[in-house]
Symmetry: C2
Subunit: 401 residues, 2 copies
Amino acid sequence: MKTLAGGITAPLGFLAAGIATGIKKRGIRDLALLVSERAGPIAGLFTRNRLPAAPVVLDRLHLRHRTGRAIIINSGNANACTGPRGLADAEEMARLVARRLDARPRTVFVGSTGVIGQPLPMSCIRRSLPVLLQRLRRSGGREAARAIMTTDQRIKEVAVQDRIAGRLVTVGGMAKGAGMIHPDMATMLAYLSTDAAIAQSALQQSLRHAVNRSFNCISVDGDTSTNDTVLCLANGMAGNPTLRAGSPGFAAFRRLLDHACHSLAMQVCRDGEGVTKVVQILVVGARSPADARRVAQVVATSCLVKTALFGEDANWGRIMAAIGRAGVGVNPRKIRLSFDGVAIVKGGAGLGPAAERRLTKIVRRQEFTITVDLGQGRAQSRLWTTDLSYNYVRINASYRS
Amino acid sequence: MKTLAGGITAPLGFLAAGIATGIKKRGIRDLALLVSERAGPIAGLFTRNRLPAAPVVLDRLHLRHRTGRAIIINSGNANACTGPRGLADAEEMARLVARRLDARPRTVFVGSTGVIGQPLPMSCIRRSLPVLLQRLRRSGGREAARAIMTTDQRIKEVAVQDRIAGRLVTVGGMAKGAGMIHPDMATMLAYLSTDAAIAQSALQQSLRHAVNRSFNCISVDGDTSTNDTVLCLANGMAGNPTLRAGSPGFAAFRRLLDHACHSLAMQVCRDGEGVTKVVQILVVGARSPADARRVAQVVATSCLVKTALFGEDANWGRIMAAIGRAGVGVNPRKIRLSFDGVAIVKGGAGLGPAAERRLTKIVRRQEFTITVDLGQGRAQSRLWTTDLSYNYVRINASYRS
C-alpha cells in the first residue's frame, strides 16, 4: 500500500473544486463539488440522529438508486431544522448540478455543515454554480477539502493506492469535523472516491466495515450531529475486474478503504476542538463486545476524565468511577488499569506512589493508550478520545457570535 | 412551612462538629460528625456506581439494621478504589465513634469525599477523634457543613419546620457536591436530620420520593461518583405520634423533606464547578415518562448545549440535535421549543430573527427554563442543568495538583 498526494481527486477520473460564495463571511471557501467523469456505484452511511438534516434525507432517497456522479457540499449552514423549505433547497442543489452535468438529479448527492436552523442562502449557491463547475480540476481535491471546513483548523485529506488484480487502484478522501464527534455512525462529513471497479453491495459492505473501525470509534465531545454523512463513490476507471464480496482483490480493496477511513478519523480527532491529546481507550477482558464498548464509551466521554487528560493528571480514580457507572457488571477485584503498558491499578486498588510517578511521564505524551482490563472474558473494544480544554469551551461558547 | 437557621442541627436532639485533622492541607476543616442524642430510624440511598467506595459498602450493611445514632464524614479523601484496607478503615471510623458514644458500631454511618485511590490517612482521624467529640454542639451544623466541602465554594444547609399532629417537626440538612453531579441517585453527599417520630419504612419511602424529585434531577457534568450518599436520621424527639405511610401528618412530613432536598439540590447546582447559570430543562408532550426523561438527560448533558449556555448563545439548533440523538422516536414536525415561554421552534423549524432577538435577552438570565414539547403525548420530565465554563475545565484539570 502506498500513500499519495491529491486527496479526493487522487483516483482516476475525479475532478473537484471549492469556492467562496458568500454563505460564510469574508470570502472564505464554503462550496465544494466532487464530480466523477463516469457515474458509478455509491455507498453511504448516515447519522442515526432522529432529526436528520435535509441533505441527509435527500441523500438517503438518492442512495436507493445506488448510483452516483457528483457530490455538492456547502459549509457555513447545516440546512438542518429548516422544515419543508430545507428539503426543497437540498433538492434544488442536486438539480442545479445535475442539469449542468447532464446527469440525473438522483445521481447528485448533497452535504451541508454549519449552523443549525437557518435557511440556506440559496441565492449564493445559484449565483456561484457556473464558476464552481468551471473550476473543476484534477488537482482540485485540496480546495474542495478546504471548502467543507467549519471550526476545523486543518485540511483533512488522504489518498492510498495498491495493485489489485494487476491494476493500480486508488482510494482518496476528505473529511470535515472537529466538534459533534461521537459514535455511533458517520460522525461528520467524510467523502471517499475510488477508481476501483466494484459492485455497489461490495462497496457498501466495505464502507460499513471501514466506518465501524474508524469514524465510529472516535469521540470528541459525545454529541452526534443532524448531518453526519460518509459517502464513497466508485467509477471503475482503474480497469480492474469488478470486485465483489469474496472475489480476488476484495480484501486488498477493503484494506485501502480501512486505511483511508482510519487516517481521516485520526485527523478529525487530532483536530478536535481545543484538542491537545488523542488517547486510545482499549477495554479488554470483557464478557461481551457490547460490555467492552459500553465501558470504553463511558470512559471516553467522561468530562472528568477528559479534563484530567488536559491537565496531564494521571487521575485514574476518575477512570475507575467511569467504569463503575457504565452499567456493566464488573468485579472491582479483577480490574487492572495501565497507561501505555505501565500498570497503575491491580485488583481494583492503586499501586502506590512509585507507579504514580511513572504515570506522570506518560500523561505528558501527546498520544497514549489507557488499557482497562475487566478480567472477565475475552471481548474487547477500542475508542479514541480527546481531552477537554479551555479552547473547547471557548470555541463552542462563541460559535455563532 | 417555616424556614429556620441551624442546618443539620436545627431539629431537636442533634449535635454536630467539624474540625481540621490534616487530611487536607493548611488547617482546612476535613472531618465532620453528626450525633443524635437518641438512636432512631435511618433511611439511605446510595450511588448506583458498580465500584462503590468503602464507606458506601459499609453504610449499606449498617442500613440493614435500620437504626442510626451518628454519622462521621471526612473530606479530602474518598476512600474509594482502596481495596480491603479501605473497608477496614471505614469500619474503624465507625467503631471509634461508637466506642466513645457507647453505641453499637452498626448505628454509626461513614462518609468520605475527595480524591479517589489514595489510602485514608487514618492516623489523622484517630488522633483527632477526642477533639471532634468534645466540640459537638447544638450550634455545630454550620462547621460540620463546612468540613464536608471539597471543591464547593459555598456551604450548603437547609432547615424547615412545620406543625404536624400538634407538634413542631423540623427537618435539617447539609450537602456537599459541585462536580460529579448527575442522576441517577444520590448525586453527592447529603445528610438530613429530623426530630419527627417516624417508622423507618415511611422514612425510607419519603426519602426516595424527595431524592427522585431533587438530587436525581440535577446534572452538572454527567458523571456519578463512587461515593454518592443521601442519609436521613430521625430521632423522634418532636414527640409527635409515630408517622407511617398514609397516617395523618405523613404528607406534611414528606413536604418538609421534599423541600429540604430540593433546596440542597438547587444549592449544589448553583455552586456547580464553574457554573454561571442554572437552567431547567422541561420536556413535555412525551409518549412516556421514560422518553421524557431520556430527552431531558441528553439535552442536559450535551457539552455543546452547555457551552452555548455559558456563551449566552441561544443556539437552539444544538438542542434540536440533542433531542434527535436521544434514541426516542420523535416527529420533527411536532416539536416546539421555548425559552421562558418565548417560542423559537414550531413544527421543527426556527421562527426567525425576531424570535431569536427575544431569546438573546432570556439567555442572559442567571436562571431560566427551556421547554421542549415533543407533541406526542402527556408525559413530562424536568431536570436542572448548568453551563460548562472555562472554570469547570480549570477546576477539573488541576484538581489533584
